[in-house]
């Protein structure tokens, strides 16, 4: 009992960080496994994947070069074509947010702080060999240099802030080519017609599976919770793509059966929600969890951790190398609905379309405190929704585990009001 022994040890900072992250991860995974009715068997692949990576620090890509990306605007097609593995480093851990808070302004975005904290700790299960950082939002643009100062190899990819003009399109096409040149040099491998074509097709196939999954969410009885879908799409950040595709095919098969058995992941009265705003990234599913624990169901989302990653596919006219590169560039610019752009009516249109296609009852718009662009765009989105007669709830949150009470009251009241609207319509 007496602690005064010479050899007495305690956790190193890395061990402590791992334990904290494991505790965050297991808490959410246990909720997903246990707290909702009729769990989906094939989701276990994803639960297990996150558990192994975040509770047991399992490396997935020992044999490959790991290409870190700071944002979805770095084309994965080119990374796969050059035989690398893209690992998206956007981070949802409060543990890492706390580490990053010491290095960044207090009011900075928790996602960026968590990402910086993760780099500062250097504690990765799959450590990136090089990091590509697109100049999208201010905070991500600026922290490239911070991360570089920790000793990582960083390469900035110039991203334009307007998307209407032909000039910005040209500018971005040049950036994408430059990115391909840099990565090609790093990998010592040439980009060619066949490796790029097969990479585009592989990602295209993964996207088509996401679209099939989305179709299930248009049904009157939705067989899968939104929070499970977020987990599935988050896994695409880092999983082995072939394993992800297999797991997704299994999931789709099971969902097919569930539809035949008329299994509803929620209840008949449960309001259908379109989720938009700052991305929910594992394990920060605070708001989606609150929504679905309050008897609503997320049927679609407009976020960069999920829908925006899969929605639009690379459309190629001619399968020539340069045509493919241009098509990739266009997909990442023209289809992007990120609020970093000057004008962003595309995003409003996308949300309205999602509400109509998925017969949603309302929208939840969540911004991280400190995520300036989403905070700013809240006003125009709220106005547009009001015009359309679509109920919308705007929430601000961060990664701290302790604000559940106030948020849940607002979410519950919003969902109750949607239920009342439903009953009155009948």
């Amino acid at each position: 009992m007496n602690q005064n022994k010479e050899n007495h040890t305690f956790e190193t900072p890395a061990e402590k960080q791992n334990r904290h992250k494991a505790m965050e991860a297991i808490k959410l995974l246990n909720t997903l496994r246990e707290d909702f009715k009729s769990p989906i068997q094939s989701m276990e692949y994803f639960y297990k994947l996150f558990e192994e990576v975040h509770c047991h620090q399992k490396s997935l890509h020992d044999d490959k070069t790991k290409i870190g990306t700071m944002c979805i605007q770095i084309p994965s097609e080119i990374i796969y074509a050059l035989d690398g593995v893209p690992i998206r480093l956007c981070n949802g851990f409060y543990t890492d947010d706390e580490i990053g808070s010491d290095l960044m302004p207090q009011k900075a975005c928790p996602l960026v702080k968590a990402t910086v904290g993760h780099f500062a700790s250097g504690n990765f299960s799959d450590k990136p060999d090089i990091v590509f950082s697109p100049t999208t939002c201010d905070q991500k643009t600026k922290v490239g240099a911070t991360i570089e100062s920790f000793g990582y190899k960083i390469f900035d990819v110039d991203f334009p802030r307007t998307k209407e003009s032909e000039a910005s399109r040209e500018y971005w096409r040049r950036s994408v080519k430059q990115f391909a040149v840099e990565l090609s040099k790093f990998q010592g491998k040439k980009l060619n017609r066949s490796n790029l074509e097969s990479a585009i097709k592989k990602i295209g196939y993964a996207q088509s599976l996401y679209h099939k999954l989305s179709n299930f969410r248009k049904l009157e009885s939705v067989p899968i919770l939104g929070i499970d879908v977020f987990l599935v799409t988050n896994a695409f950040f880092f999983d082995k793509i072939d394993n992800w595709i297999d797991a997704m095919e299994n999931l789709l098969k099971e969902l097919d059966l569930r539809v035949k058995e008329k299994i509803n992941a929620a209840n008949k009265i449960s309001p259908r929600i379109v989720y938009t705003g700052s991305p929910p990234i594992f394990p920060n599913y605070k708001i989606p969890q609150l929504i679905e624990e309050s008897d609503a169901i997320i049927v679609a989302d407009e976020t960069c951790s999920s829908n925006r990653m899969f929605n639009d596919m690379v459309a190629v006219d001619e399968w020539n190398l340069y045509d493919m590169l241009d098509s990739i560039a266009d997909k990442y610019l023209k289809a992007c609905t990120c609020p970093v752009f000057t004008k962003n009516n595309d995003r409003i249109r996308r949300i309205i379309n999602l509400v109509k296609q998925y017969k949603a009852d309302g929208v939840v718009y969540q911004a991280f405190a400190g995520c300036t662009v989403y905070e700013l765009e809240q006003r125009s989105v709220l106005e547009a929704m009001e015009k359309e007669g679509i109920p919308i709830l705007y929430l601000e949150s961060d990664y701290s585990p302790s604000q559940g009470g106030q948020l849940s009251t607002r979410v519950e009241a919003f969902i109750e009001s949607l239920k009342t609207r439903r009953r009155n319509k009948k």
Binding site: M1, N2, Q3, N4, H8, F10, E11, P13, E15, K16, R19, A22, M23, E24, A25, I26, K27, N30, E34, C55, P401, S402, G404
Partner: protein, 268 residues
């Protein structure tokens, strides 16, 4: 021979320590505070004197401390538990080294105390509002898990999975969280471990408020729980010293104050 008593009347238990003029511990006794602090304190003191065969007349100075100290009218002096804790900790750890930081978890409160090189209290922080993450909380947890409070440490070290965090350290809310975890067949060991880490995180925040200085001493009943000690060390990233009898540090400090005050009054 002259004797001195320190009586620490806490929310949960009464701790009495008797020392001699040289500040050596002669004996100590603890009992539950119950509903009548004064009566139980008196009974405990009488019993202790009898055990030690000390004549009441030789007990020359009594210092009361703790939350119920003002109810013990017979005391020659009463001092706050912060001062008493600081005095007791420095004396108890004399052989270990200089104590700069004290963590105390009591029955219904917890505190962090920062000392300067002379042992003066320079800063302290206490939990506010409620008994979250205190000894009472551990009682409630043990009761729910149907194990003894003294078994918590053992269960902690048997945990093999990821500690299951209990997000609420409010005893009332945590109880329902624990019921939920048990309902889903999670191991008692992992729950205990998670509970200890929840308390540890809370206490470490308190310590950071006063500043972490090497020479860290942990006392109060919960310091006898090895699992909690290990959790706090891990969260803090520093080794901490646990005295042989963690629950009596504050009463020991009060008794030491008794010696000093007596000598001052008697011009010795």
């Amino acid at each position: 021979m002259r004797y001195f008593a320190g009586i620490d009347i806490g929310s949960t238990s009464i701790k009495i320590t008797i020392i001699d003029e040289n500040k050596n511990i002669i004996g100590f006794k603890t009992s539950a505070s119950g509903s009548m602090f004064y009566k139980y304190a008196q009974e405990t003191l009488d019993a202790l004197l009898q055990e030690l065969s000390i004549d009441k007349n030789n007990l020359v100075y009594i210092v009361a401390t703790g939350y119920g100290r003002k109810l013990y009218k017979e005391a020659d002096e009463n001092i706050s538990e912060i001062t008493a804790n600081a005095l007791g900790a420095r004396a108890a750890a004399k052989e270990y080294g200089e104590i700069k930081t004290i963590i105390n978890i009591g029955g219904q409160d917890s505190k962090a105390i920062s000392l300067d090189n002379e042992g003066n209290v320079v800063n302290f922080a206490m939990n506010d509002r409620c008994a979250a993450g205190t000894g009472k909380f551990l009682d409630v947890v043990a009761l729910k898990l149907e194990i003894g409070v003294d078994e918590l440490g053992e269960y902690h070290f048997k945990s093999t999975g990821t500690p299951l965090s209990v997000s609420s350290t409010c005893a009332v809310f945590a109880e329902s969280e624990i019921i939920g975890l048990l309902g889903n067949n999670h191991s008692v060991e992992d729950i205990v471990c998670g509970v200890h880490y929840s308390i540890a995180k809370r206490i470490v925040k308190l310590v950071k408020r006063v500043g972490v200085k090497e020479g860290i001493y942990f006392d109060g009943g919960p310091a006898m729980n090895g699992g909690l000690v290990s959790a706090i060390e891990n969260e803090l990233g520093h080794a901490i010293f646990i005295p042989q009898y963690p629950q009596i540090t504050t009463s020991y400090g009060a008794a030491i104050m008794g010696v000093d005050s007596y000598k001052y009054e008697q011009n010795l």
